[in-house]
Each structure stands twice: as C-alpha cells, then as structure tokens.
Symmetry: C2
Subunit: 351 residues, 2 copies
C-alpha cells in the first residue's frame, strides 16, 4: 500500500459525516471538519485529519460532548465561557462568533473559556477573525508537555500563542507558535508514523534528551529558547488555565490517556476591532508598507526569499487545494476503519 | 577607582533631581527615577541608572519632551494615546493610570500608544498593575535589532512582551522577555563596560556571529529560538507600531544616534480586572496552588530550586534595597559629571 491522493471535498465531507454520525449538529460538524482539513491543506498534518480518530473515540465514549451545553456570561467587554466539554473547535468557534460583535461594540473583547478540549490550530480562528477585518490574539493551554526551568517533569502545556492580522491582499499575517521547541502534535505524528525525532526537541522520563517520540511523549518537550519559553508557557497557563477557571498544569487531562476524564482545557481570545480607533484604509496601507519592507530586507546567505508568518502555510494551502490531499497508508487505513464503524464510506482516491 | 556602594534613596533623589533640572514636573521625575532605580535594584542594570545619561542628553536637546502634550481618546474599552514625545516611562505611567479605571469598568482595557520613547522595563508597569490586583500584558517596539528570518539587516525591535499576574504574597509573577536571544540593553551595557558578549547573541553588519558588542550594535541581535522569535517580534511590531499609529521597523529612531529625530516608539497595554469575572479570593487560591505545584516539581540535575518568573528579580531587589546599590567607576564618573552639568550634587558613597 502506498500514499494516495484524495479530493479535498471528499475528505471534508467524510470528516463531517463522521462527526454527524457521532451526534454533532451539522453546523458544528462542518466547523470541526473545516479545521482539520484546513490544517491538512496547510501542511500542518499534526493538527489535521490524523486527529479525527482520537476525537471520534472520545466523542463515542462521551468523554467529549457531541452537543455540549455551553454557557456564556458577558461582563463589559469580557465573555466568560463554559464550553460544556464540547469539541474545542466547536466551543472556540461559537465563542469567537460571540466575541466579534462585542469587539465591534467596545473596540476589543476578551473571552476566557473553560471546560473545553483541544481546539486544533489557533491559526484557524485567526483566519476567521481576519476575514472580518479583525485582529485575533489566541492562546490555549494543553496537557503537560513542558517542565518548569530546573524541573524534570512536565507541568505546563506546550501552550501556543497566536496572532492574526488582516491584510488587504491574502494571505493574512498569522503567527501561531507553541512555547515549546516544537508542537507536541509533531511528536504524536512521528510516533504514529514510526519516525524518530531530532535531538533537542524533547527529554525522556529521566530527563535525558531522546530521539524516540514515544519516550518523548512519556517525558517532556523542551521550552522554546530555554528559560524564556518556560516563562511564556507559564504566562499562557495562567491566562488560559487560572484566569478562565479551567484546569491548569497536570490537571489538564490528556485526550490520549484512556483513564483521563474530561480534559477541561482553557483558552483565551482577544479580538480587536481595528476600525474602532484607526481608519481601516490607513491600517491596510501601513501593513502593505510594513510587509513590503520586511520582504525587501537584504537576504542572508543560503536563503532565497523572506516570508512573513502565514505566507508559507498559505502557499501550501493553495497548492494542495487544487492537487488534493496525500495520505499515508497508516492514516488511510485508520480512517477507513473509523468510517466503517460509523457507517460512513471511505472515499475513492484520485490516483 | 573601584566599585562603590550608594544608598538607594540618595541615588533615587539624584535621578529625580536631574530630571527636575531638565524641566520635568516633580511627579514625572519621580516616576522616571523610580523605574531606573527599581531596575537597578532588581539587577537589571541594563535598564537602570546607566540610562540616565542618554535620557538627560535627549531631554536637554529637546529630542524628548520634558513636559509632553499627551492626548488620550477613549473608544469603548480602547484608549488611543499620543505620548507627545515624552519620556517613555512618563507616557506609559499616565496611560496605565487611565487604563486601570477603564478596565474596572469593562473588565479589560487596551491602550495603543504612539509618539513615545524607550520606557525602561515593562516589568515596572506590571508591578504597578499587580499592586492594584490587576493583570497587565505589555508590549513595546524599539529601534531595529532583529532581522527577519532569512534576512541579514535588522528590521524589528528586540520587542519585549511582559505579563504581570498578582499573587496574595509577594512577589507577583512577572514575565518580561525580549523576542531576541538577549535584550539589546545587555549589549549596550557590555559596550559601555568594555566587555565582550557570548557567541550566539548577535551578528555583525555582514551577518557573521560576533563577540564584539559594538559590532553587534551595528549588526543585529538574533531572534529567540530562531524563526519563532522572528514571528513573535513581528507580531509585537504590528501591535505596537502599525496598530498604534507609531513608527515601525527602521522608522523607529534610536536614542543613541545623534542624527535621529523623535523616536516615535509605540507601546501596547492590556489591563485585566480579574474581579470583574472571577472572585478574587478564588483567583488567589488558584494561583497559590499553581505556584506551589510548579515549585514542587522534581528538580533536574545541576539545579537547586525552581523559581517562577519574577522571583529572582524580587530577591535581588530585597537584598539590594537594604545593602545599597553598587556602581562601577565608569557609571559613577558619568553620573557625577552629568550631575555637575545640571547643578545636582553627586551623593557620597557608603563605603
């Protein structure tokens, strides 16, 4: 068996149908499917369709709610959200839809979300805000991945922070970075594909650097840039975990552990409605100048071009959108079996 | 001549008197002096009293306004500030004083500040917010220090991001990190003291790694963690420069260049009034648990203790506060001459 290519619409429909078969309303199923497919198209396979199996398992077990009872309370320009243990993508999407009108009213709106789950890439939500000509700053915590500086056991999640800034001509500027050297998703994917990981990414349970992704998943991921990454991971843990009322540190449960109950992941969104304090045309002109100047910086040796954050993923997206999505035999087999269990047929490949 | 120790109050008064002699109202002079002395006490000499000379020079030349005409406009929970080319510490302090009541009203408040200058450490403002039991997230841009990833000329500032979280028992959690491997202030201080810098901090004008701080100041500082630090520096440049209406990239002028006009630095503050959406006692209990758990993480080899961000600087502060401030001969001489030029006597040392 070899890699096969699939039409984007077919995979998207497959994911949505699986979610619907597990009880999600069709709108929520589309949101979750879109997030997975978008990541896949952008080359972020670690947050793509390879996550469908674990989400489905948790939905089937009732450890993630397919029709979560979300609640939102508004205090001035702050929304406090209880995600009702829904799929993170669904909880975050509905929160963003509530936060954007609030930002229109007050210039900015903050949302503290508890009782949620892994929400896929933060970039996905940045893109939605950018389409509405708004800025999004997004953070989330996650199960323990990073140790405190000087510690040998993971405490903090690999806690990403993301920024989305709209531009006149796509792609928007999308910064989406974990506070670890690499996202834990890359290690999970390497473990799944039986690949080794580079030195410098992670330590094993004893605190030794390792190239074995399974040992790394039992150990800890190293923080970005040493003590600074520790500090950043901690700040994000406080904002998303402590301030939202969600779990923090080792109390955030892991999707991949069969014993773990609801994850109680916390997120934070800050939405900025630029137009409230700056003429939008002026903003776009300033961004055009800024990006042009950045890209015109003299090139260093061994580089060909300066890309801004979000440019590479957008190019990959455009390319895959027309050519289709390549899946490894392992992922194909896993998904086909998953579909069979849900009564959702696996689509034919295009080659 | 050797290092000498000075009483904290004497140095604080000296700085304030110098600022008053240069036309600052006494309240503003105290704010600026407090920021310098606090940094000095915390062991952040790069943002301490060694900066007094350049601030004074720029105030005397009128390139920084001693009595800035600041203006503030409020749009919902956003304040748009024109700092009138005042000293950054003064502009940022007055902005924070306006943003905190707005956060009390709306739960959170954002302030975009243009036409300001170097504001010292962001930690200083975090401490003020924490005393009021509020969270501060602060960012600022700065003159070019970091190149885009793949570029060999600095474009972005070394753009710090800071987070201050109040706790029941001091010290508060204060994260204050530049998006470069090191703060540019450390390189400026090394140049001043005639010391070399470690490999890996910076490149010279040709893009080669260097240990010469002067060559580094003509070249560029490397971003934190490679491409991620570039992305973070860019996001901060957009928030502080583009969105505030301030200068961005190489249009931010440098305090240390005699030809440069007003710097037009931009800052961003986000103030969170926790109490608006969470019981403060609950918050403090959660933080106590969080910090205790972090500190109780099993210790890695070669470490003695786990410190949270802000703890080390607080210990140094307490120690220096009683013992006094040690100054090198170079700094003493510079300050004594500076005082003589302003009619402000240099205090006697304590040993």
């Amino acid at each position: 068996m070899s890699n096969q290519r699939y039409r984007v619409e077919n995979l998207q429909q497959f994911c949505a149908n699986v979610f619907v078969s597990l009880g999600l309303p069709s709108g929520d199923a589309d949101v979750a499917a879109n997030s997975l497919i978008r990541s896949e198209l952008e080359g972020a396979g670690s947050h793509g369709i390879s996550r469908l199996a674990i989400y489905s398992k948790r939905l089937r077990e009732g450890r993630i709610a397919s029709t979560p009872k979300m609640s939102m309370e508004t205090f001035g320009s702050v929304i406090k959200v209880d995600g009702g243990n829904g799929l993170g993508q669904v909880v975050a999407y509905h929160t963003l839809q509530a936060a954007m009108p609030l930002a229109k009213k007050y210039g900015l709106a903050g949302a503290f979300i508890k009782n949620s789950n892994h929400f896929g890439t933060a970039a996905y939500f940045c893109q939605i805000a950018c389409q509405e000509k708004m800025v999004l700053i997004a953070m989330t915590n996650s199960p323990p991945g990073i140790p405190p500086w000087g510690g040998k056991r993971a405490y903090f999640g690999t806690n990403p922070i993301a920024f989305g800034f709209p531009v006149r001509q796509e792609p928007p500027v999308i910064v989406d970075m974990s506070s670890s050297v690499v996202a834990r998703g890359k290690i999970i994917l390497a473990a799944k594909l039986g690949q080794s990981i580079p030195f410098g990414w992670a330590i094993d349970e004893e605190g030794r650097e390792t190239t074995d992704p399974s040992a790394a998943l039992r150990g800890a991921v190293l923080p970005l840039g040493g003590a600074k990454g520790y500090a950043l991971a901690m700040a994000i843990e406080v904002v998303c975990g402590v301030l939202s009322g969600a779990a923090f540190g080792p109390h955030v449960n892991n999707l991949y552990n069969d014993q773990d109950p609801a994850a109680n992941v916390g997120h934070f969104f800050l939405v900025l409605d630029i137009e409230k304090w700056m003429n939008l045309d002026d903003y776009f002109l300033r961004m055009d100048q800024f990006l042009q100047e950045v890209k015109e910086t003299p090139i260093a040796k061994d580089f060909e071009e300066i890309l801004y954050p979000g440019e590479r993923r957008y190019r990959t997206y455009l390319q895959n959108k027309t050519s289709g999505i390549d899946l490894s035999p392992e992922i194909q087999q896993e998904l086909e079996q998953l579909g069979a269990g849900c009564g959702v047929p696996w689509p034919a490949s295009v080659r």
